[in-house]
């Protein structure tokens, strides 16, 4: 994209002293929210049926052994004591040890989070590039069959369950055509260990294509339709009429004048939408065997692996909150009319 990001020229001229206080206040609220979410998730898991030791041990081991396990993980303590320990650890950024992997939760999550974020951001990028241009184009073509087709296209993919589209995409592009790998994040035995080697390699990118495509098609409707509506709104503004009156070429009016101003809500909605969409990654990760946090949370829940499920949930929830915060700040930053 060669265009500047939305509305920046508006802000440049009359940027207010940016309110650090506002962000600080929001961050504070966020911390309180994280603590509340953590409390909720802690309590939820404690009401779960099934003893966590059940999935930890072979059924053939004796009852005393299960008792010993309960004690090792502190599960024999009262709820209140467990809660105090849990919150105390949490304040030190310690999510405990996964029952299942016998490994610090932070490390399990640390392994998985990048995979989830990269997949999601790639899909968003894909959806945004196509959506912003497509939406602008649709606004230009308003009232035509092409516009209706565009709307229908984006809504059909918003209506299709991602797991189902994923299965179809695998059948077509991986099994029938053999263009891309269908499963996992890298080829078997791939040697890379550093972040760059793993996430910037051609091998990784090939694995990324299908899951990102599937997620991107689902996301597509957001930027497309918001961009379209926003464009329609902007295009009725006076200065666009002026540009037309001056006899500027259509294309130039569309992209130079209208689009950059119409982008504001699209960008803001983007951050909000990332937050809302991150949970939905679960399905794509399952279908594509993508080693991300979403798949981990499903497994942790089925295994009653409290610490891991709690930790993953809190991290995902934090990502959502950060995205919401970014949306609000972006909005404030981009729209000069907002004052605090």
């Amino acid at each position: 994209m060669k265009k500047n990001s939305a509305g920046m020229h508006l802000t440049d001229s009359k940027r207010k002293p940016f309110v650090i206080g506002y962000i600080f206040r929001r961050l504070l609220i966020m911390v309180i929210m994280i603590l509340l979410v953590s409390t909720m998730i802690f309590l939820l898991f404690r009401t779960m049926p099934g003893d966590p030791t059940a999935s930890m041990v072979d059924p053939s081991i004796p009852q005393e052994a299960r008792q010993a396990l309960l004690e090792r993980y502190g599960l024999h303590e009262s709820l209140w004591t467990q809660y105090k320990i849990f919150m105390g650890d949490l304040l030190r950024f310690d999510f405990g040890t996964s029952y299942f992997y016998n490994r610090p939760v932070s490390r399990v999550i640390g392994d998985r989070l990048p995979a989830t974020l990269i997949l999601m951001l790639t899909a968003m990028l894909f959806a945004y590039i196509i959506g912003v241009f497509g939406g602008a184009w649709m606004a230009w073509k308003r009232g035509t069959r092409l516009e209706s087709a565009g709307v229908a296209f984006s809504l059909v993919f918003r209506s299709a369950p991602t797991f189902w589209v994923g299965l179809m995409v695998i059948m077509l592009f991986a099994v029938r055509l053999g263009w891309f790998p269908a499963q996992g994040m890298r080829s078997t035995g791939y040697e890379g260990t550093t972040f760059g080697e793993i996430f910037l390699s051609l091998d990784f990118l090939r694995h990324l294509v299908l899951p990102a495509l599937t997620a991107g098609l689902y996301f597509l409707a957001t930027p497309t339709l918001i961009m379209r509506n926003s464009m329609l709104e902007v295009m009725s503004e006076d200065y666009i009429e002026m540009a037309h009156a001056k006899g500027l070429p259509e294309r130039r009016v569309l992209y130079r004048h209208a689009a950059r101003n119409a982008l504001l809500p699209v960008v803001t909605a983007g951050a909000l939408f990332v937050g809302a969409a991150i949970g939905g990654q679960v399905l794509i990760e399952v279908v594509f065997s993508w080693p991300g946090l979403g798949r981990e949370i499903v497994q942790a829940v089925t295994r009653s692996d409290y610490p891991l499920a709690q930790g993953s949930f809190i991290i995902l929830s934090t990502v959502v909150m950060v995205m919401n915060l970014i949306a609000d700040v972006l909005y404030a930053f981009l729209d000069p009319r907002i004052t605090y």
Partner: protein, 317 residues
């Protein structure tokens, strides 16, 4: 998924809220004109027409599912010579073919329609009810009440949707009602926010002030004067909530957290994937998938048209 609209609403209402009430066209006060405008827009909007036709079709199938479904969802079908009709591609007897143990997929898809509609509408009603009440109360009273309620809304906004539903589904035994409950618990937040910003602009109107001066009670003002104004918006939100819920139910069922004893589209797809025949039996996974798409698309199309009614600016173009 209804996020599209939700977000437009959210953003525009946000803008409206910041810019002052004049920018935001309020919903129409009169429901009759609301529907008549909607009906007349059908004539010009082909997508909406398609949507209405499809939706009526699905509702018909859903309501008469029991009579329309030729067989029970678990009945096993046998050949005349005795063998089970295993994994048969579509025939006249079984328009969508059979499963690996000889069950009629056509009947399952029909019964699944009813499940989808029930889940969708029940959850949507629940969500919109709670969301609307919270939104109206919050927007009307403002101040401390507003702050507290909006913080609660913020709290629910911070919860990742699918993981939360999975946790809830795992805590409570798998059942359709729990999916409805789980979806409702998280989705009212959106409605509440949108309704609230709408109410904020409405309560500044002269006639509301007049009503207050005339001594009308809070309840009366809220439900007699404000509610009718947000109804169109709420209806629109409800449409998106129906979609959101149906998708959520399908996703949950696909992941194996649904109730295996209830025939739903997600459950059919789940059984298909569990059975291991997903790549062989296209007749087993294509019909439920297409059914989900068609139902959701039809609701989107209708909602788009509703949206033009709610927001007259969209209509002009």
């Amino acid at each position: 998924m209804q996020k599209v609209k939700q977000l437009i609403q959210y953003i525009t209402s946000y803008i409206a809220q910041r810019r002052g009430p004049s920018r935001r066209p309020a919903g129409r006060r009169n429901n009759q004109s609301f529907f008549s405008v909607f009906l007349s827009s059908l004539k010009s909007d082909r997508l909406a027409l398609i949507g209405v036709v499809l939706l009526v079709f699905f509702i018909f199938v859903g309501v008469f599912a029991d009579s329309l479904a030729p067989h029970g969802p678990r009945d096993r079908h046998y050949h005349d010579e005795g063998g089970i009709k295993r994994l048969e591609s579509p025939t006249w007897d079984h328009p969508f073919g059979t499963t690996d143990v000889g069950r009629d997929i056509f009947s399952q898809v029909i019964l699944g329609t009813r499940t989808a509609l029930i889940v969708g509408f029940l959850a949507a009603v629940l969500v919109t009810f709670v969301g609307t009440v919270v939104g109206i109360v919050s927007g009307y009273f403002g101040g401390m009440v507003d702050t507290v309620l909006m913080r609660i809304v913020d709290f629910f906004y911070a919860i990742p949707f699918i993981p939360f539903v999975i946790v809830l589904a795992a805590i409570m035994q798998p059942s359709l009602w729990n999916v409805i409950l789980a979806v409702s618990m998280l989705s009212w937040r959106t409605v509440a926010r949108i309704v609230r910003s709408q109410v904020l602009s409405i309560s500044k109107r002269p006639y509301i002030k007049a009503a207050k001066v005339a001594g009308a009670g809070h309840l009366r003002i809220m439900f007699r004067y404000i509610l009718p104004n947000v109804v169109p918006l709420v209806l629109l939100e409800m449409a998106f909530m129906v979609n959101w819920t149906i998708m959520a139910e399908a996703s949950i069922a696909f992941l194996g957290f649904g109730d295996p004893r209830v025939t739903s589209w997600g459950q059919i797809l789940h059984m298909n994937s569990v059975s291991g025949y997903s790549r062989v039996a296209w007749w087993w996974n294509v019909p439920p998938g297409v059914a989900i798409i068609l139902l959701l698309v039809s609701i989107f199309f209708v909602a788009r048209s509703l949206e033009a009614v709610v927001d007259p600016r969209l209509r002009k173009r």
